[in-house]
């Protein structure tokens, strides 16, 4: 079996929630040894210490638990943690102590890359910014990925992906054209793109280091990653000084194009027609007089009469299930797809046939099914080698195995609360609030 692309590289992951952890999971998928450092004894936002209701409308589901809310070790049960963490080992470390810092520096000296996902001041405050770490590892690669980047007036600002979506203009663009912005759901898309960009940056930097021996610092703004993904509205403003409004499901070059009702309650099917051939195929399947209308035979005509077509087409789709519409139209070569609810992808026949969802073990809540990797490589396929790490699960691997501490020295760390594998109540509050609650 061929070695994996990043075999032999050690990467320290100090990121929270989704963008960072998902990105380092991708690096683990590529074969790197990813060591996830977890905040201790204060819990990070990735590791909620109790079940609490989410504010209505939050799509984040951070802190949602799989199963009994009163079960022990809630921080190991949050489904959002499981989502973003695989193929990595986890250890807990109190970086605010001298001993903790010293151990961290030693680990850095034995590592290739370090990713930090906190706001920009944090690394300096903790004494682990790039100039300091370079003294311990001169060719270190370090990525800092605050929401708005490491440098600039917003370097200390904090947010989740939904705030970046708002600032980058995506929130505005994806709303209903006829409703105000309070009616648009919050999403966390920048976490997906930030994860990809960060892991790409690390692999590119490793490649450069292989050739030159040179490490480097990488400043990634998750907002800027997202801003490179909407060139059409950006260029419309640059070229024509025009602000593109939300367009909903309308496409400027295709009609019909959108989501249409189907026979079941709150069930929809998407249809998109690009060419005149596809339109004729669709009209043939429908077989009703309106579909033969000459005005609809060409692209400009269909764009002009978009609303009329949508109304007719919706009447037709409403008589069938979204699955039936999809099957019929795809058989005729017309692009269609059911709007799946949450249960859709895990039971989709295609994803089932290609074995996409994989059953993975977990000592507390497993086994369960999780989505597969985001790529197929013919010679270096992704294995889910390491299940989602428990808090402190690999403490001994790191402190004793990699750093060479004796068992007695390790137990001393536990006694001094420099490491551990369980949080105490209130561990996720700010220090000033912990005193008052």
């Amino acid at each position: 079996m061929a070695p994996l692309p990043l075999e032999g590289y050690r990467i320290i992951d100090m990121t929270e929630v989704w963008a960072g952890p998902m990105g380092t999971s991708f690096l683990g998928d590529l074969g790197a040894e990813v060591l996830r450092i977890e905040s201790y004894p204060r819990a990070s936002s990735s590791r909620p210490t109790e079940m609490r209701p989410l504010p209505p409308g939050s799509g984040a589901a951070v802190g949602r638990f799989a199963g009994d809310p009163n079960a022990p070790r809630p921080w190991d049960r949050s489904s959002s943690y499981h989502l973003a963490n695989r193929n990595k080992k986890g250890f807990a470390l109190n970086l605010a102590t001298e001993r903790g810092k010293e151990l961290f520096y030693r680990l850095v000296s034995k590592s290739d890359a370090f990713v930090i996902g906190y706001s920009a001041g944090t690394a300096t405050k903790l004494g682990i910014d790039y100039p300091v770490l370079r003294e311990h590892r001169p060719d270190l690669i370090m990525v800092s990925m605050p929401g708005w980047g490491e440098r600039g007036p917003y370097q200390d600002y904090v947010t989740l992906g939904s705030g970046l979506d708002a600032y980058a203009g995506h929130y505005y663009l994806r709303g209903y054209p006829d409703l105000d912005p309070t009616r648009t759901p919050q999403i966390f898309h920048s976490d997906a793109t930030g994860a990809l960009a960060m892991s790409f940056a690390i692999v590119a930097a490793l490649r450069h280091r292989n050739r030159t021996g040179q490490g480097q610092f990488i400043d990634m703004s998750q907002v800027e990653v997202l801003l490179t993904h909407m060139p059409r509205p950006a260029m419309e403003w640059v070229m024509n000084n025009r602000v593109v409004p939300p367009v909903g499901n309308v496409d400027p070059t295709m009609a019909p194009h959108g989501a249409y009702p189907s026979s079941e309650e709150d069930s929809w099917v998407t249809i998109a027609v690009r060419t005149d051939d596809q339109w004729r195929a669709l009209a043939g399947v429908i077989g009703e007089a309106w579909a033969q209308d000459e005005r609809f035979a060409s692209v400009p005509g269909r764009l002009r009469h978009r609303q009329e077509i949508d109304a007719h087409l919706g009447e037709w789709t409403r008589q069938q299930t979204n699955r039936a519409v999809t099957d019929t139209l795809e058989a005729a070569g017309v692009a269609a797809g059911p709007v799946y609810s949450i249960t859709g992808p895990p039971s989709d026949p295609h994803l089932e046939a290609v074995g996409y969802y994989r059953e993975v073990p977990h000592s507390l809540i497993g086994p369960y099914r999780r989505p597969g990797p985001v790529w197929h490589m013919s010679e270096t396929p992704v294995q889910f080698r390491i299940p989602t790490n428990l808090l402190g699960e690999h403490n001994r691997d790191v402190f004793c195995g990699i750093l060479g501490l004796s068992e007695e020295e390790y137990l001393e760390l536990e006694r001094q609360d420099i490491t551990g594998d369980a949080y105490k109540p209130g561990a996720d509050l700010d220090p000033e609030d912990r005193a008052s609650s």
């Binding site: 692309p5 990043l6 963008a19 209701p53 989410l54 504010p55 409308g57 951070v62 799989a66 489904s79 980047g149 600039g152 200390d156 600002y157 947010t159 989740l160 708002a166 600032y167 203009g169 995506h170 929130y171 505005y172 994806r174 709303g175 309070t182 919050q186 898309h189 790409f200 590119a204 450069h208 292989n210 990488i218 800027e224 990653v225 490179t228 060139p231 950006a234 419309e236 640059v238 070229m239 602000v243 593109v244 499901n249 496409d251 295709m254 692009a335 799946y340 949450i342 859709g344 026949p349 295609h350 290609v354 369960y368 099914r369 989505p371 985001v374 490589m377 010679e379 270096t380 609030d433």
Partner: protein, 402 residues
């Protein structure tokens, strides 16, 4: 000048529209040498996509194309002719990576499938991006961005319960797919350079979108519990979390959790409310929401987006203004970071473009050349690098091969 991180990697970009070209752009902008192979009859369809200056369509002035094809050279080649195919194979021999986003089988049908390419270059990385991957029952399905996105389940929860569900903004899903392909390709390049491994990278857009961040689906696969129906998972405005109207627009606020709610109270000058039994627990806050709103909403309504953003962030409360894409161009943060870069293009002129997705201090993202004119580098590549004569080039042009 510093070299790019991907200096010395040669890529053939056979992609069209967004996914393949964006994948190749990620490589090109960090230093790879990318040759874009275009159909002599019109080139990449992104050339016709716009937007265009003054709304006048022009194949060298499409905003989408200009953004996606920086740092690439353009060679036109009709791959359906035997000569065009042979020239491509000559280029493949000298390349590290081929990127394409045709439907499954399309490359095989013109004698340029994975086996054909691997035969002339066993260490090649070939990245193929398709809606549903190279295998499986949907591999031949017709697809557009919206029909694939619908199947990820991301669309279903994106909208109001009494209305049709919405896709995300146009192009957004395709960019994510292209970016996924770039990461996988980068991994395959490492296996190629470190271990001499050539391989096929198969990107399924559906899998790339389903397998990234999506907490709802995994909540279901772990617990077996279906999340609440659409009507209960929608955005509703609550005072500490949600989207709120303010003096000049809207702000997004994430302060429902314990730590952030207490910071919010400090930021608005009411730290004592943390001890008020009406607001001291999440359950109590939900019951007394109107009373909290009576204190908080006036504070929000008399401030602008920028004031709220700055005043709450001063207390590390998570929030952001709802902006339009163009507002980022003049926002102090992006100005300070020089994110938008001016690029001079022979047909489109000097324009600002979105710049580096991340800043590599030693191997900077850079624009070495603007997006190419159609076939601009035919002579440079075919004569200069493959050794064809000028006469041969003219003959290829007259036969419609280039």
């Amino acid at each position: 000048m510093a070299i790019g991180a991907l200096d010395g990697i040669t890529v053939l970009d056979l992609g069209t529209d967004i996914p393949g070209p964006y994948c190749a752009k990620m490589l090109a902008d960090y230093g790879a040498e990318v040759i874009k192979i275009e159909d002599p009859a019109g080139g990449d369809p992104a050339r016709r996509a716009g937007p265009f200056p003054g709304d006048i369509p022009h194949p060298e002035k499409s905003g989408l194309f200009l953004h996606l094809n920086t740092n690439k050279r353009s060679v036109t080649l009709n791959l359906k002719t035997a000569t065009g195919r042979d020239i491509l194979l000559d280029l493949v021999k000298r390349a590290n990576v081929v990127i394409e986003n045709g439907l499954p089988g399309a490359m095989d049908n013109i004698g340029l499938g994975w086996e054909d390419l691997a035969e002339v270059n066993p260490k090649l990385v070939m990245t193929s991006i398709t809606p549903f991957g190279q295998e499986g029952p949907y591999r031949d399905y017709a697809a557009e961005e919206i029909t694939v996105f619908a199947m990820t389940s991301r669309m279903y929860t994106h909208g109001q319960p009494d209305r049709e569900p919405l896709r995300f903004a146009p192009d957004i899903a395709w960019f994510q797919v292209g970016q996924t392909a770039a990461l996988a390709t980068m991994g395959a390049i490492m296996a190629q350079e470190r271990f001499g491994i050539g391989q096929r990278v198969d990107i399924s857009a559906l899998e790339a979108l389903v397998g990234n961040v999506d907490a709802r689906t995994i909540f279901y696969t772990i617990s077996g519990q279906e999340p609440p129906p659409r009507s209960q998972t929608r955005q509703t405005v609550s005072s500490a979390a949600g989207v709120l109207p303010c003096l000049d627009g809207y702000v997004l606020l994430i302060a429902g959790g314990e730590r952030f709610f207490r910071r919010l109270l400090r930021a608005i000058g009411h730290p004592e409310l943390a001890q008020d039994p009406r607001f001291s627990t999440p359950v109590a806050r939900a019951e007394h929401r109107d009373e909290f709103d009576a204190i908080f909403l006036p504070w929000i309504l008399e401030r602008t987006r920028r004031e709220i953003f700055q005043q709450l962030q001063a207390y590390s409360v998570m929030c952001a203004p709802i902006m339009t894409v163009d507002e980022a161009f003049t926002d102090p943060q992006e100005v300070a970071r020089d994110f938008f870069v001016e690029i001079d293009h022979p047909a489109a002129g000097r324009l600002l473009y979105p710049g580096a997705p991340f800043i590599m201090d030693e191997t900077p993202w850079s624009v070495r050349r603007p997006a190419p004119l159609l076939g601009e580098h035919n002579e440079q590549v075919l004569c200069g690098e493959l050794g064809l004569s000028k006469q041969e080039l003219l003959a290829l042009a007259s036969q419609g091969i280039i």
